[in-house]
């Protein structure tokens, strides 16, 4: 840490997010605004004496080092998190590490890796690993008029309500399937501002030849499937299982592969409209 103090001493700030406190310092004052743009939704900047985790950004001074391509460095506490030539990549690693730390460490809330939209006042949660078409499905729900809550985290409170985490969508495009940040505004949709009740959980993945013919699964199996996408099950298993039980016991859970997103979305929205009507 001593070495870090010598490297990184220009500017910084501290902030609170989901009950945890973080510090950021950098050798480059102009980077502060750039870093702040990557904080989780709902973060609040405040002065604290001690933080749960400290991030240190070292950005090269291009005016002084024109003969080489020095690295951009990011540290989490004393651990090197990233060493890259790109500030965009540095910020991506920062955001990923920060979100992962929040999802794992926060005790009052439960984070599930999932896309979330609101339809007729209730949350539709779509848990899923990477490359299962989760963001594509969220995008299609938004085109049909759903409200955006997240394409990364379903954040549950102890009552079982789902809180918004509306970071930009990460849509994979092109042959290399690289993620592109897409603002929810591009879908012309509303963005969720308050916690809402859970209405439906969808476990699905895209298969080119599939048709949406889901099965209803038991609460026990639904809980186990949900925990497969939870961040804190190994750290706090009793609390995680209790949470999953509570959430799945009184919620409809559907499982099955899907073809085109619009087909699934049309069916789900129609069924939800019929229930409400």
């Amino acid at each position: 840490m001593e070495k870090l103090y010598r490297l990184v001493q220009a500017d910084g700030f501290s902030f609170k997010s989901f009950g945890l406190t973080f510090g950021v310092r950098t050798n480059h004052p102009l980077a502060i605004d750039m870093i702040r743009a990557h904080l989780p939704p709902g973060s609040s900047v405040l002065k604290v004496q001690a933080v749960d985790r400290l991030y240190s950004f070292f950005l090269p001074n291009s005016a002084r080092q024109v003969w080489a391509r020095p690295f951009h460095l990011l540290y989490g506490n004393a651990q090197t998190l990233a060493k890259t030539h790109s500030d965009a990549e540095l910020l991506e690693v920062f955001e990923t590490d920060l979100n992962l730390h929040i999802a794992t460490a926060t005790e009052r809330l439960f984070f599930i890796h999932a896309g979330v939209v609101a339809w007729k006042g209730k949350a539709i949660v779509i848990p899923g690993s990477s490359y299962t078409g989760k963001s594509t499905l969220v995008g299609e729900f938004l085109r049909q008029g759903a409200t955006y809550y997240s394409d990364e985290f379903a954040v549950f409170d102890p009552r079982g309500y789902v809180h918004p985490f509306p970071k930009p969508l990460g849509i994979r495009m092109g042959a290399d399937q690289k993620q592109t940040r897409v603002s929810p505004a591009q879908y012309g949709c509303a963005v969720g501002m308050k916690p809402i009740r859970l209405g439906l959980i969808l476990f699905t993945r895209y298969l080119p030849s599939a048709r949406w013919r889901p099965k209803v699964i038991s609460p026990g199996k639904a809980a186990l499937n949900l925990l497969q996408h939870s961040f804190s099950v190994r750290e706090r298993p009793e609390a995680a299982f209790a949470f999953a039980d509570k959430v799945t016991r009184r919620t409809r859970v559907l499982v099955g592969p899907r073809g085109e997103a619009k087909d699934l979305v049309r069916v789900v929205c129609q069924e939800a409209d019929l229930e409400k009507g």
């Binding site: 990011l74 060493k83 992962l100 890796h113 609460p219 026990g220 809980a223 299982f241």
Partner: protein
């Protein structure tokens, strides 16, 4: 004259939680989560290390369902053993390679709904649960990779 069976199955001492008529179990040693339906859960609970297989059968016939037979208990014990939920290594393998139809035929009068079912899933690490890159994807930090490891060649392991 047949030798009296002395195997007394004993369940693992692990965290469990009832979810309606199912039982969720989490084994912290292996990070495996299990869901047992009511038949499997009843057999598992009866495995106290004191009862033989015949004792377990009689216990379940009295407490749970008079139609449960020893074959059902044996098949269930085999499934529980495969899932790593029993301590006793001497539990005989029964029905592990049988098809569902054959299991139903052997169990006899028990309805399909009462077939013992044990579902097992690996509970993830935080990195594994997050959005992450698959193996061989370009990376520059361990947290970006599903494996949790970005190799020296800047490709996810």
């Amino acid at each position: 004259m047949q030798q009296k069976e002395t195997v007394k199955p004993k369940r693992l001492d692990v965290f469990s939680r009832e979810v309606m008529d199912e039982l969720l179990i989490y084994d912290e040693r292996t990070h495996l989560g299990h869901c047992l339906n009511w038949t499997a859960a009843a057999v598992w609970r009866a495995c106290d290390g004191e009862r033989t297989i015949a004792d377990i059968t009689r216990h379940l016939q009295a407490q749970v369902n008079p139609d449960i037979d020893e074959q059902t208990v044996r098949i269930t014990l085999s499934k529980l053993k495969s899932a790593g939920l029993l301590l006793d290594e001497n539990i005989p393998a029964e029905g592990e390679t049988l098809s569902r139809r054959e299991v139903m035929r052997r169990i006899g009068t028990i309805t399909a709904l009462a077939l013992p079912v044990v579902t097992t899933m690996l509970m993830p690490t935080p990195a594994r649960a997050a959005s992450c890159f698959p193996p061989l994807h370009a990376c520059n930090a361990n947290t970006q990779c599903c494996s949790g490891r970005c190799g020296v060649n800047l490709l996810c392991l």
